[in-house]
Structures are given as C-alpha cells and as structure tokens.
C-alpha cells in the first residue's frame, strides 16, 4: 500500500505540490491526469524517493520513504518507475539493460539474471531483441524494454510517467497494451498519462491534478462522465 499524506514540495520559490493526499491499495490502478506543470511527475519522483519532500509523509508498505533511516536503494527495488523518455541505457544491449540492476543491486549471477531478463523481455514482446542496442529499437520498443527492466526487479508497485507521450502515434498502442496486460495481472500501478481512453479502460480511479493540488479523484466513469471541479471540466473539454 502506498500512502501519501499531505505532501508538500517546492522548487525554490515555486510550490509544486501543495499538500497531496492519496492512498493506493495493492492491486489498484490509479491514473493521474492534469495540465503541464501541475506536479504529476514530481509526485512520482517523490514516491520513490528520487526527490526529497518538504513536509508530509509517504509510506510504502509501512516504510516511510523520506525517513533518514530508510535504505532507499532497497526500497526502490519494490517500486519500478518508467519515464517519458531516455529510459534506455544506450551503451548496453537490451539484455544488459535488463540484467544490470538484478546483477549489481541484487547480486544475482549472470545466468540467473539473464534468465529472468529473458522472461520479462518475452513478456513485453521483445524476446527476439536481446542482443540489440536500444538505438535500433523503435520508441515503443524502448519503452517496453524499460518496463521489462523495471519488472526484472520484481517490484510490488509500478509508476509510469507519460510513457507514451514521446512516441509516434503509431507506437502508442503497443505500449498501452503492455500496461493493460500488467494491470490485468494485478500489478499495483500509478500511471500519469494523457491517454484518456487508456485511463478510462484500465484504471480503478483517476486523479486530476491542477497547479499542485489534486483537484478531483474518482472512478473513471464518474470523473470523465460527470467531472465536479471546474478545472477538470475545462481540461477534459480541451483534450477532446
């Protein structure tokens, strides 16, 4: 369970998160939508401790992320994250990309790590690209590789930050399919996305962010069908 309690976060003078509260249960898929700069990415990077927070608390399965005593490197194994862009390590083959963390972080033997990596890569449909370098992959394939890489650490939670935004329209589908598959397998996920169709189909709940505030959260039918907050209405009208 991920619990976010009254989290605030500023960059310099700019308050980017103005007291966010959100609890994500095991097995739940929460999608986050909202305008540019509303703090969506920042929230994700706070959740896995890449960014410190100013106040509030984030706990993952009871462990407080930003406590001094927390071993972040260890905690992060539980929480996979995939970004919008530049996820692939360009100097490593697909297989090496995926085995790096299991080997260096978990200390797995090469063979064992490769077995796991192959399994995950096959899972996302890249079973035939093991020795390819990322530059030879399409954007969609790169994103799927990044997902496999995160999965290879057997995380309990996955965070996705607009993983399809940088892709050509033709490639969006394949990545969304992969996410859907994960959701169906019961992975707990927080997905920041601009793909309203996806949000509607896959999520248990959809959260709308506006200027550092979670303006509205609800089941997809409710939020898309009958948005309460005027900003949500405005946003959805614009998107289509």
């Amino acid at each position: 369970m991920i619990e976010i309690q009254n989290v605030r976060k500023s960059f310099g003078d700019l308050e980017v998160l103005k007291g966010i509260d959100l609890t994500v249960q095991r097995g739940e898929v929460v999608t986050v939508i909202g305008g540019s700069g509303s703090g969506k990415s920042t929230l994700l990077t706070c959740i896995n401790g890449l960014e410190p927070i100013d106040s509030g608390r984030i706990t993952i399965d009871g462990t407080e992320v930003h406590a001094k005593s927390t071993n972040l490197n260890k905690l992060r194994r539980k929480v996979g994250i995939v970004f919008q862009q530049w996820n692939a390590f360009p100097h490593l083959t697909v297989l090496e990309n995926v085995t790096l963390a299991p080997r260096k972080v978990l200390g797995m033997a090469k063979a064992e790590a490769e077995a796991i990596a192959e399994k995950q890569l096959r899972h996302v449909g890249l079973g035939d690209k093991l020795t390819t370098y990322p530059s030879r992959l399409s954007g969609g394939q790169q994103q799927r590789m990044a997902i496999a890489r995160a999965l290879a650490m057997s995380p309990d939670y996955m965070l996705f930050d607009e993983v399809t935004s940088a892709l050509d329209p033709q490639l969006v589908g394949e990545v969304l399919e992969t996410l859907k598959m994960l959701a169906e397998e019961g992975m707990t996920m927080i997905c920041v996305t601009h793909e309203m169709g996806f949000a509607r189909d896959v999520s248990n709940r959809v959260a709308f962010f506006h200027q550092g505030i979670m303006a509205e959260i609800g089941a997809p039918d409710q939020l898309f069908g009958d948005p309460q907050h005027p900003e949500t209405q405005k946003f959805l009208a614009n998107v289509r």
Binding site: L50, I81, Q85, F89, H91
Partner: protein, 221 residues
Amino acid sequence: MFNYTFQWKQALNRLPQMLDGALVTMEIAILSMALGIALAILLTVFRLSGSRPLMAFATTWVEIARNTPALFQIYMAHFGVASFGIHFSPFVSILIGITFNNAGYLTENFRGALKAIPDTQGRAGRSLGLTQLQSFRYIILPQMLRISFLPMTNQMVWAILMTSLGVTVGMNSDLYGVTQDLNALTFRTFELFALAAVIFYLITKTITIGGRLIAARLFRY
C-alpha cells in the same frame, strides 16, 4: 638557389635513433593519457560530490591546467616542486606535467559530456535501486567516456605534441630531444627537424584515424 645543400642522407642515417625517440614520445603520451583519464574521472567525481573542499580542489586544478602555458606547467613540475625538496627525473617530470595538463582539460571535456547525458539516465539507474556510485559507474561513466572519446583523441594528440617541451626539464630521449641533440652534433637543423615533423605528423595522424576506427568498433550502439 638556397646557398645551402640539403643533406637528407645525413638525417636519414639518424632515423633509427629518431624512431627510438618516437617510441619514448609515444610512451609518455600513452602513460600521461591513461593517468590523465583516471585523474579526470576522479576530479569529475569530486566536482559532482557536493563537498566544497573537493570541488574547490578540482576547480583549482582544472583552472590552472587550462589557464597557464603547458611549458610553464612542465617547468614547474621539475624545478618548481624541487624548491620543496621533491625531485623527479626528467621522464617523471614531463609525465607529471603532461598528466596534470591532460587531467585538467579532460575534466572539462567530461563536464561537457555529462551535460549531454539526460538527467533521466541517472534517475533511471537510481530508480532501479543502484546506488549513486553504481549509477555513475555503470550508466553515466560509460556514456561520458563515449561522448568524450573524440575529444580524448584530440587530447592525446596534444599530449604527443607537448612531449616536445620535455627538453626544458632535461629530457633527451624523446623524439624532440633526440632531434635537438643530433642538431647540436651535426648542425643539420632543417633536415633533422623536417624529418621529426614528418614523424610527428604520422604519429598524430595514426592516433586520429586509429581513434575513429576504435570508436566505430567500440561503440556499436
């Protein structure tokens, strides 16, 4: 027409000696590059460390290396430090001088290379549970070295050219030193220096072209 008869034979007779000198020149350049790269990585880590004294140390090194003549640095590595009772042989002095210079310039190159590596790379690494150091070692460093590979071959060329300054600290076994000694002996200044120029040209060209070939080989991505 020139009032001077070129005696190329005389210079060519000395070619074996000069080629021996060229080997020493290469040796200095290669060692100074290997050490320079290692030090530059260390200085880069210092710069990223966030610790004020370490950052100041790295910055001072880089700025002195980049803002004074190499000749000055090499002279200092020999006569300067000797004022404090530390003695280095000419070979070690020139090696230190060039290494100091290399490390300074390479650190600056690395800084540029780091800027070209997207932030998310390090973040992706850390997100997988790699420690900061692991993330640097396995993700940032290889990319940084790749991006600065061509600047590094340039620096290697400069290292070769800088060996010619070794004569100021008593070197006479490198290509330039050998040439100068032969010149003193025979007064065949033009022939000898022209021959040395050709050898230098061939060495540096080999490095540049070799560097490109290696880059193509090494970096298949």
